[in-house]
């Protein structure tokens, strides 16, 4: 199981990083989604992998249990990354409709044209 979890984290991360480097909004959004899946699986695995064990200590049963904290962390992280992705989709859509381009560059592609319009 370890090899499956580890390689899925690796593949998702690699795909996510590749897509983020495309510098266009749609691939970047997909890339960030892949990265957040990768980090969720990674967080989930950070409490050791165990099969068929309850996340709480049973009073009379087997003393072994799986760590519940990473599951709580993953739950929070999923909600947050989901909300963030939704915000990014909306803002990216707004930026695309305003400017007609979907590029995400550090400097605007037209070079350092006049910065006059930028204030309000």
């Amino acid at each position: 199981m370890e090899i499956v979890v580890a390689s899925s984290v690796a593949v998702l991360t690699a795909g996510g990083v590749y897509l983020i480097l495309r510098l266009r909004t749609f691939p970047v959004i997909l890339g960030l989604a892949l990265l957040s899946y990768a980090v969720n699986i990674f967080l989930f695995a950070s409490g050791r992998l165990a099969t068929g064990l309850p996340p709480v200590l049973l009073r009379y049963g087997d003393a072994s249990y799986t760590d519940p904290l990473p599951q709580a962390l993953v739950l929070t992280a999923i909600v947050i990354s989901f909300g963030m992705t939704a915000v990014l989709v909306i803002v990216a859509l707004g930026a695309f409709l305003e400017s007609g381009t979907d590029r995400i560059d550090i400097a605007p592609p037209k070079g350092d044209a006049d910065p006059r319009e930028s204030h309000r």
Partner: protein, 515 residues
């Protein structure tokens, strides 16, 4: 257990939904509520500072769970100081946004503003790294909304860059937390510090990875080289009052580095050693250089101010990077100063640009109240550049005085002094283009190429200038009362380095006595 500790988080968290859902069609009511909330948080923050002044680290156990298992909020002198700083800055910025009408240019300004305050205060108060992540996300998601408040092509594009950059940072933060939890089994900062001390150095490679990942994330928030690229574009394109509020957001990164990297990954802990300082110091030096030359090279006012904020973050982090109580005292003094100096500059720029219609640094006919704006800009600029009599001078002096280690002194002194000089030149050039040369151009001159149709330019009322003056008065007050402030900050930085006191307060016997 002092229940007021959680009030700076709870109060805005309650006000924001109220404003968003009940008062969204009534701007006057939203303004009143938001301002009242901001005043309330200032009062609470001052009360917390008084409560923490005796040096006792107070801990708030959420749900009364004992510390390593439940979530804790920790109030010591440093976090009380940061909360006061946030609340006062927020009040100043909020008044400015209300009297200049910025809050009416888009929807939900006040709700987002309250959420932003909640996230920042929470990040300063929390004693748990995962909670720090959650509060980071709260303040970031509010800042996304504020950043694109008012809309416009460039602002939306800069907003997308800002969001993408921060989402990548958040993912990195989670990876760091995963590594940390896998290798230590805890996310409570005090518990983490305790366990990291016991990890032998040969088993500590994962912990070192986590420490560096965390430092990368915090450096991204603090806009430190090589992760500074987002700041100029974001700050220059954000609405000016929002950019003034963002002056505290870079400090969240600086605070997180001070807190986590002194307490848990300190230089004298075998597992990590001087790892953080080794990378932080050159990054800060390069940041100062980039900021200074950005100020010199900027061709518009808001990018110029954004680069000066970048330079001040570099100066701040140079002091943080040495991780000694003396340097931390200097860093904290400069942190308070640079927050208000950056905010004052953005507020002056907003007052000016709402009357000038063009932010490029070329002479245009003088606006109304040219002398007044020139004076305000001059005061804010000498504050930012670090000239006497304002507190930037004392802050830089303290930083230089604390960095006397022969290995770092030539670099730090050279960068701070040279950076200040270049910044002064940049500000002088900008000021002369904006204010001085303007007076020689007749008003009817059509040289300003694409100015809009001639609208009557309104003179700034006393109320509009008051927030800027308050920010400048804080700078003046910081230098007049430098003695008392410095003695408070000395105690605060000593408390930061008193690791056993912090760990004992959070995990110690006090926790077990709780009912």
């Amino acid at each position: 257990m002092n229940h007021w500790i959680i009030a700076p988080v709870i109060l805005p968290a309650l006000l924001a939904p109220l404003i968003a859902f009940i008062m969204r069609h009534d701007l006057t009511l939203a303004r009143t509520t938001s301002l009242a909330g901001a005043v309330g948080i200032v009062a609470i923050a001052v009360g917390l500072t008084v409560a923490s002044a005796d040096g006792e680290t107070q801990v708030y156990y959420l749900g009364n769970w004992p510390a390593p298992f439940g979530i804790v909020l920790v109030l010591d002198r440093l976090s009380a100081l940061m909360v006061v700083l946030t609340s006062v800055l927020a009040l100043i910025v909020l008044v400015h946004a209300v009297v200049t009408g910025w809050d009416a240019r888009g929807r939900h300004f006040h709700a987002l503003f309250q959420f932003q305050i909640m996230g920042i205060c929470g990040a300063f108060l929390t004693g748990d790294i995962f909670n720090l992540f959650v509060f980071f996300e709260v303040l970031l998601i509010a800042s996304y909304g504020l950043m694109i408040h008012g809309g416009g092509r460039e602002r939306m594009q800069a907003g997308v860059q800002y969001i993408v950059m921060n989402l990548a940072g958040s993912t990195l933060f989670l990876f760091a937390l995963g590594v940390l939890y896998a290798s230590t089994g805890t996310l409570n900062i005090a518990d983490l510090a305790l366990r990291l001390r016991e990890i032998p150095i040969e088993d500590a490679s994962l912990v070192r990875v986590a420490a560096m990942l965390l430092m990368i994330v915090f450096a991204l928030k603090a806009a430190l080289f090589p992760l500074q690229f987002w700041l100029p574009g974001t700050y220059a394109n954000a609405p000016a009052p929002v950019a003034a509020l963002f002056a505290i957001m870079t400090k969240v990164g600086a605070y997180a580095i001070i807190r986590v990297h002194t307490l848990a990954f300190g230089p004298d802990i075998a597992a990590t050693g001087p790892l953080a300082a080794t990378w932080l110091f050159p990054g800060a030096i390069v940041t100062i250089v980039i900021g200074a030359f950005g100020v010199l090279g900027a061709r518009a006012l808001l990018p110029l101010i954004a680069f000066s904020v970048l330079g001040s973050m570099g100066t701040l982090m140079v002091a943080v990077a040495s991780f000694t109580p003396e340097a931390t005292l200097a860093a904290l003094y400069y942190l308070v100063h640079s927050t208000f100096a950056g905010a004052a500059l953005f507020l002056v720029a907003d007052l000016l640009l709402s009357r000038r219609k063009d932010q490029t640094l070329i002479p245009l006919p003088a606006t109304v109240q040219n002398g007044l704006f020139a004076g305000l800009f001059f005061a804010a600029a000498i504050g930012m550049a670090g000239m006497p009599p304002l507190s930037g001078f004392l802050g830089k002096l303290l930083i230089l005085d604390a960095l006397r280690d022969p290995g770092q002194m030539p670099w730090a002194w050279g960068a701070v002094l040279g950076g200040s000089l270049v910044t002064i030149v940049g500000f002088a050039r900008a000021g002369s283009a904006l204010f001085w040369k303007s007076t020689s151009i007749p008003v009817a001159d059509p040289t300003g190429s694409d100015r809009g149709p001639a609208t009557p330019v309104r003179a700034a009322s006393a109320l509009e200038i008051a927030p800027t003056l308050t920010a400048l008065a804080v700078l003046a007050g910081l230098s007049v009362f430098a003695g008392p402030v410095a003695s408070y900050l000395t105690q605060a930085s000593e408390q930061v380095f008193d690791r056993d006191g912090y760990i004992g307060a959070v995990l110690g016997t006090a926790a077990e006595d709780q009912p």
